[in-house]
Amino acid sequence: MSIIQYKDIIEEGDLVLIYINRSQLKPITIRKGDVLNTRFGSFPHDSMIGLSYGSQILTSKGRGFVYLLHPTPELWTLSLPHRTQIVYTPDSSYILQKLDVVAGSRVIEAGTGSGSFTHAFARNIGETGKLFTYEFHEARYIQAKKEFSEHGLDKVLTCTHRDVCKDGFVVGKEQINGDAVFLDLPAPWEAIPHLEKVIAKDRRVGICCFSPCVEQVMKTVEALNENGWTKVEMTEVSALTWESRKEMVREVGDAIKRLKDVKRRQREGIEQLKKLKKKEEEEREEEEEEEEEEEEEKKKKDGEIEVEHASKKRKYEKQPKEKDRDRGYNPFGKGRRVAEGEEDFEWFDVSKNEREIKTHTSYLTFAVFVPQLTPRENGEIK
């Protein structure tokens, strides 16, 4: 199979991405007799063969399940361990768009890194184009080369173990003729002078350099200018993912009605008893709050903060709609707890970021190289 060509039915030897949950995607290669073990249960590979991509499969007891996904460059990126250096989709999709990487493009990439962007390049250029990717870290090179083979990319790309800053990009006698260049290197300015030998000479060539620090960009801009690249443009992509949430519609009228009710009861003289009860309740609440605080303190393990993931469900105080308003709610507003989006209540559709958001990956420095053709030497079109 190939990651850059869809197929419909899962066969032995296929790469399948197992969707376990929102944050867990596990790549496996289908082998008869093998078994996939997850914390939701075991799934024999044999049961996957012959199914359509996208199928859900259950454990024998029917308690746990996973989905069998066709790999795509974007899903492959999600499946990689986060500690690896990865060019994520907001950056990669913009670079592909701006460098105009399409079917037939000839792309130069250094370094290969985790190979995540390599997949997206390969997807875009297809079998009519060619990708040249370079990695100087040997272990990473071996790993990437193996993955590219397994993912059916051998026809589309050449992966080379090389320090391009020292040794340039020339590979054997192959004409590279790159029309798009991507440099994700600590010192792209050392690689830029070597590009002249491998970029196309008959058409416009685009480049993108990917560097986290401002100082790197400055050196890169200088090197680009010195080496004949023009239209130098430094950019930065800010990306956000939005969660859709429900926020309860609370009306001032309800709060006022509640207060009126309290007042009425006070007048009716039944307040004394309630007050005692309320006080107890409040004290309990305070205690709970303090306990909660202490617990949080503990969690922080003496100063180190554990980031909570935002997906935990929020709870709302009961705030019934008009028709429910008579169903004896608590005058002190401490009703039963309501789950987010519960029916019988009104909700705003709202959007929210994750608790921790990515605010920087790298600066993208783009430029173009335009060969100065001479079609009308001697006044004639050549």
Binding site: I4, P73, T128, R203, V221
Partner: protein, 425 residues
């Protein structure tokens, strides 16, 4: 693959985009023997630019001639590549702005009429330099500005008067930015370059795929997909009128024939009722066709072809055979997307675009509960551009607002009886 359109060298009859020093853009067609007027930036002959690589810059000379330039900003202040080439303007400058008054145009003694007159008196880039020189002389307090302000002022004036242009090919990005910056972003529903990139990647658009598309941008989405696929694969284009609206293609290098090879139009009505929309046309026996007159035969065969195309498209719909969905339409996706999902193959991705996050929110809530969809997420992407003049690096002070939002997800086949809990942990 006749619909391959990667432009490398400027050729006759090509459509292309000119960029001026002010970064204004203009769509032109290269007619043999024709001339192109840039208004006050001069006039040049098409013949003079044919044969150069796309991306080439030129300076307009006299007699509609041009001089190829390394870049449009060569010799200008905001481009360090050619610092040494800056015209040797020699003015007094102040160490700071302390003596400069904020009087705006009051400081300028040269009038608009005088500038207009000068422009008519000469041609070529020399005029620009002369005008700039005059403007500086006319500027009452130019020598009271700091060197920094002087440079900024010069750059602004140079951009305004320099007679140069770059010839860019009609890539999707160039076309999009032309519409977004110089025409009206609303024509393409506010879509930005970075968001278009997101749409394409999240829908996994690639050569060889068969995609279902809603395109309310006048054809920009179709254009983008054609560019990426380069003749390999198909686009089934849903339209809500009697035919798709692809006004944008009028000024591109695609012919009707090339378009019809890749793009299969289908109306919403045909899409929701593929069975009822099949033609009742029955092919005639071969011998009858053979016996037709040449003209009738041609007409007949064309009809056969059309019917086959429509039926093939309906087959794809009925077979739930699409490799992806790209939905860029103001039709409320809540009312339609859930119906489309079934038409996708398993484990295929979709991208739904809206200019407004609020429109996608409702759909997102629904798809979060739809077992046929995994990872329904709303994405936003915004690019900031920087000035990179050495010593003066900073993000640009302003840019175009908006850009839109993308919701993507993956089509799956849920199994009856699977426990819903634990699915989204």
């Amino acid at each position: 693959m006749s619909s391959v359109h990667r432009q490398e060298v400027i050729g006759y009859d090509d459509w292309a985009i000119l960029t001026l020093p002010s970064s204004a853009t203009k769509i032109i067609q290269m007619r043999r023997g024709g001339t192109i007027s840039l208004g006050k930036f001069g006039v040049f002959k098409v013949d003079n630019i044919v044969g150069y690589a796309y991306g080439q810059s030129f300076e307009v000379l006299e007699d509609k001639e041009v001089q190829p330039m390394k870049s449009i900003s060569y010799g200008m202040e905001d481009n360090s590549e050619s610092r040494e080439a800056t015209p040797g303007l020699d003015f007094q400058s102040s160490e700071d702005n302390r003596d400069l008054l904020d009087r705006g145009s009051e400081n300028q003694k040269i009038t608009a009429e005088e500038i207009e007159k000068m422009k008519k008196e000469g041609s070529g880039n020399e005029v620009a330099n002369k005008i700039i020189e005059k403007i500086i002389q006319g500027h009452g307090s130019f020598d009271k500005k700091t060197i920094y302000s002087q440079e900024k002022y010069l750059t602004r004036k140079q951009k305004k008067f320099t007679r140069r242009f770059t010839v860019n090919s009609l890539t999707t990005s160039n076309l999009l930015n032309h519409i977004r910056k110089d025409r009206d972003p609303e024509r393409i529903l506010g879509l930005s370059e970075e968001t278009l990139g997101l749409i394409m990647s999240h829908a996994n658009v690639m050569p060889g795929g068969n995609y279902l598309v809603m395109d309310e941008t006048g054809g920009l989405i179709v254009y983008s997909m054609l560019e990426r696929m380069q003749g390999n694969g198909s686009i089934t284009l849903l339209h809500e009128n009697d035919q798709p609206k692809l006004a944008l293609f009028r000024h591109t290098n695609y012919t009707e024939e090339e378009l019809s090879e890749m793009v299969k139009p289908i109306s919403l009505l045909e899409f929701i009722d593929p069975k009822g929309s099949r033609s009742s046309f029955v092919p005639l026996p071969e011998e009858v066709v053979d016996g037709m007159s040449e003209m009738r035969k041609t007409r007949y065969l064309r009809r056969v072809k059309r019917v086959r195309q429509v039926n093939a498209t309906l087959d794809m719909v009925e077979g739930n055979s699409f490799d992806g969905l790209v939905y860029v339409s103001t039709i409320n996706p809540v009312t339609f997307v859930p119906d489309i999902i079934d038409r996708l193959k398993g484990s295929r991705s979709f991208s739904i675009y809206s200019q407004y996050k609020e429109v996608l929110l409702g759909l997102n809530h629904i798809l979060l509960r739809d077992k046929r969809v995994l990872l329904p997420n709303i994405y936003e992407s915004r690019v900031r551009k920087f000035q990179t003049i050495p010593g003066k690096v900073h993000p640009l002070m302003t840019s175009i607002g908006g850009g839109g939002y993308v919701m993507s997800g993956i089509k799956v086949f849920p199994k009856e009886g699977a426990v819903a809990s634990g699915r989204r942990s």
